[in-house]
Amino acid sequence: MIRYMTKHYDKLLGLLAEHMWMSAAAVGIAFAIAFAAAMLMYRRKEFALPVNVLCNTVYAIPTLALFSILIPITGLGKTTAIVTMVLYNQFILTKSICSAFETIDQSVLEAADAIGLDGWQTYCSVKAPLALPLMLNGVKLALSSTVAGATLAALIGAGGLGELIFNGLSMKNYNQVAWGVVLSSLCAFAANHVMQWMEDRALDRIQG
């Protein structure tokens, strides 16, 4: 296994980097969309149910099935892989962003309004910091499931660490498979830890 690494370290690193940026891009885009959706649900309650139903439905579609729905539209490769991960993440992220804002103590918001903070000031100095820990918690869950799921992207030629696993399996090169497994697990583990650290910091700030 070590020999495999010394021989192919450039390939391993390349795939690791690819895997990481693909996951990060997927979660980043997913967060932007989920944030907008969650704000809509937070302000206009009538949107909450339809958005939830939609997210649940998409989440229930198996990965390979979703790939085959998307490939005719977005083709083989990274686009499809990222779109798939973005769609799955909506389930986790809209829920966590929404509840992050909904669980803010009403008396705090009432006071902010009553002492003369305008909407934007309340948002920046009260709502956002108080909602941050739960939002980060959502991002943590999304990121670790995405990093794990991103191995499947190799099936549609999108690269990433899944390539080591699937190619290794077909060529019976188990050293390669092992590296794929180890690196993708480490990657998920590291992502989880970084996010946990950020979440703890944010929580510390509001619970001091």
């Binding site: 008396s107 002492i115 003369g116 100095s125 700030r205």
Partner: protein, 329 residues
């Protein structure tokens, strides 16, 4: 007559969808520099009344005037910044320190750092907060201390009016008394106008220069503690404030309301009669009277000049009236 700070003019408030009138033809004048307590059970519309002032709610009919101007015509954020607001759960920002909470508005108004620091110092001294807790998170404070921070925050930019919605409701009895006494002292010093909502009769009578008794959105009586206790305007007020305990009533009545004014004879400042402040409660005066072993107290004003006298007859008067009222039950 003092200037009018706030005036309700034929105010009605109905919440959309409920049909219940939370305010029904409310007319009320609140003098500048006075404390008005709004007393009522939950659902009586007392909090609604408060929130109509800083436009958390808008009147369905009628208008609320703030120093002569209809609040509906004033820019809402600017209006709220001139009106301090303190609520029961304190509403402090849990992610901020004591200092940052107190300086909420100065920060928004972009005061420079030196001015903010100085103001926070002043305010913490004013509400008697230990300077040591300045950098502490507000979550770590006791309920009483949180209310002090809330009050300091409300006072930060020198508001002319402070609205308080059951601020001491969730605080233990001893601390509550303490906070009430300090609020009174602070108000006397700053001459600020306070509208104070409470469901505690004792608190309303103790703090209010004027007490507004609310029921089902209507004002049943708006008067001094003396008149509310001894001349209730109607059956509702009489039952609401009726206290079997004579001493309870004495705690709420002020000496100045029950004393005999000095007649033509005038008072002799050299009289040996023990002195009592006109703003003391009748309860305190009774203690002084009994301890002195004499039959009369000389009532003095803040400058020490005699303004009246208090005898056991004054107490008999109070007892007779409250008994008479109870007798009609």
């Amino acid at each position: 007559m003092a200037k009018t700070a706030i005036e309700f003019i034929h105010v009605h408030k109905t919440f959309p969808g409920s049909g219940v009138e939370a305010a029904k033809d409310v007319n009320l004048r609140i003098e500048e520099g006075s404390i008005v307590t709004v007393l009522g059970t939950s659902g009586s519309g007392k909090t609604t009344l408060l929130k109509l002032i800083n436009r958390i709610y808008d009147c369905t009919q009628g208008r609320v005037e703030y120093f002569g101007k209809d609040v509906a015509t004033l820019p809402v954020v600017a209006l709220r910044r001139q009106i301090g607001y303190v609520i029961q759960q304190s509403g402090l920002f849990p992610h901020w320190t004591v200092e940052r909470n107190i300086a909420t508005l100065p920060h928004i108004l972009k005061w420079d750092k030196g001015r903010i620091d100085k103001r926070v110092d002043e305010l913490m001294a004013l509400v008697r907060l230990d300077p040591e807790c300045r950098m502490r998170s507000v979550r770590k404070l006791s309920g009483g201390q949180q209310q002090r921070v809330g009050l300091a925050r409300a006072l930060a930019v020198n508001p002319s009016v402070i609205l308080m919605d059951e601020p001491f409701g969730a605080i233990d009895a001893i601390t509550r008394e303490e906070l009430q006494d300090e609020l009174l002292a602070l108000q006397t010093r700053l001459k600020i106008t306070i509208v104070f909502v409470t469901h505690s009769i004792r608190e309303a009578l103790k703090l209010g220069h004027k007490i507004v008794v609310m029921d089902k959105g209507e004002i049943r009586q708006a008067d001094t503690a003396y008149n509310i206790l001894l001349k209730p305007a109607n059956e509702f007020v009489r039952r609401f404030v009726s206290s079997d305990d004579f001493y309870e009533a004495l705690r709420a009545l002020r000496v100045s309301e029950c004393m005999d004014d000095l007649g033509r004879a005038g008072g002799d400042p050299r009289s040996s009669a023990p002195k009592i402040d006109r703003d003391a409660t009748m309860g305190d005066a009774l203690q002084t009277l009994i301890r002195s072993g004499q039959s009369r107290l000389m009532v003095i004003d803040a400058e020490g000049g005699p303004v009246g006298e208090l005898t056991f007859d004054s107490y008999r008067g109070v007892a007779a009236r409250s008994e008479k009222d109870c007798g009609t039950a």
